[in-house]
Amino acid sequence: MEVNGHHYINTFILNSKFLNYFNNMRTYENQKSKELRAGMGEGLVEAGKQNPDVVALTADVKGSVKMDGFAKEFPDRFVQCGIAEANMVGIAAGLSLCGKVPFVGGFAEFVTGRVYDQIRQVLAYSNKNVKICGSHAGISLGEDGATHQTMEDIALMKALPNMTVLVPCDFNQAKAATIAAAKHVGPVYLRLGRSKMPNFTEEGAPFEIGKAQLLNEGSDVTLFACGHLVWEALEAAKALEAEGIKAEVINIHTIKPLDKEAIIASARKTRAVVTCEEHLFNGGLGDSVAQTLAMNCPTPMEYVAVDDKFGESGTPDEMLTNYGLRAKNIVEKVHAVLKRK
């Protein structure tokens, strides 16, 4: 590792003026910050146009979860369930029996943790074609505080057999993931944030469930990221590039089924891994990656995540910064993991 470290530093010094010619760092620009939940809302309207069996349900948060567009476009295919999430999940399961493709929308905590047993019995165990759209997920929800900031939802949902877990990284991808979820047969959890975040992936790019997305090639360390932290990982890769460290950035937008092949291949290449997510250490992306690596190619690894605590009130920016979910935190973890290489 030390040898490699010196090697890269030397390379950096020698080639610094040619760096722009020789490095592979792809640049991603924030087109305009947008909310992921709004991406889902647009995707849902599109899915509704593509498939007349797509229906939507919400529990008194139609506007908050951006289902109002669908409700306006397809009033006969929209079910307002009132403030009763458990009943909503059961109704969705019943609708799916009749060939409908129900999208259930609510705040992520209340359509996962609050109704975990309902999801387990009638969606996962009964393997029904229902999509759960959890908006306001993660600590970047901000001012509402910890009651609403779920950071356990990935753990809960991925624990269920039959469940597919999608964590898109920006508005464009949230829209594409929604359209892909509508075409996928089986229960899906779609995790979405509330706040405006950089929108940087290509508009209209296809979303392939279960396929990791290589955003930047590198050879020294791999950053596996999901959700809002993908942008932070790209920012971290830029900063690392300036230090001569080539970071591979892979967007794991599908936590389950996990693209183990891509994870193993990249870890074999870089031999150092940092996972980045807006979730607790326990049960999130990091644990999925760690399990895969432990069983296939043990690799030094660090987590950028929240360590076993609840959030609090603050602006989205303050939350991400104070809970250590920024590019600079990723850089620090890269330095730490490279020492263990």
């Binding site: 458990a86 059961g90 019943g94 009749c98 060939g99 409908k100 019995q121 009964s126």
Partner: protein, 283 residues
Amino acid sequence: MKTTTELQTIATQIRRDILRMTTAAKSGHPGGSMGTADWMVAMQFNIMKHDPKHFTMDGKGQDMLFVSQGHITPVIYSTMARVGYFPVEELKTFRKFGTRLQGHPSTEHGLPGIRMASGSLGQGMSVGIGAALGKKMTGDDSLVYTLHGDGELQEGQIWEAVMFAGAKHVDNYIATIDFNHQQIDGTTMQVMDLGDLKAKFEAFQWKVVVIANGNDMQQVLDGMAKAKALTGQGAPVAVILTTEMGYGVDFMQGINKYHGAVVSEEDLPKALAQLPETELGDF
């Protein structure tokens, strides 16, 4: 259509099945199964429009039944087998490793006639309402039925569903409550008084039919026919079906222990003697 006498005979055979299945499995829930046997037979053999030989998951053009208190699998499976969903011999596999006849109903194992897992209480009404809405959306004028334990009404989700169905005029849907006044820890009165059920459902904008003796086949047939006649009038229909837990065997009747306790091998002949084998024959 079967005659009332024929249905009574089937119900007697099904009670024998329930006892023999649960004693053989050394586990299961005979009490509620025995109590609802008459209703289940009336439903599956006469009331419901369905095609057991050609089961489809989407149930298009057929009435659907969801048994929300999934623990009464002995009566569910026995009736389903006897009406033709699957071979009667398969009842021998109840609760055995590798069986399609899981302790609580599941879709995972592919048993014809089961559309949803149940057993975690309080969820079947929501599912039934969803299916009823699905039928409306697809222009299918068949009905959706659910069955619930009375103790199950203590689950909060039931009342979310009751409020929804009344407020949203889900009128192609009939929920039946097995009102046997028993639950695991004692009588419903001891555990949690259910109060005036009829008034409660009416307050939530439902139409209500009361069947005073749910172990009287004719009363069940008449009551369910009345419930059916009330559908399509802008409101969901509740049937309050008074039954006796363990009905058919004197030492089980009205005893809440038999919710989840089986008759011992030693006592089984005594129980079966009160329910003579019918021409349908044991499995």
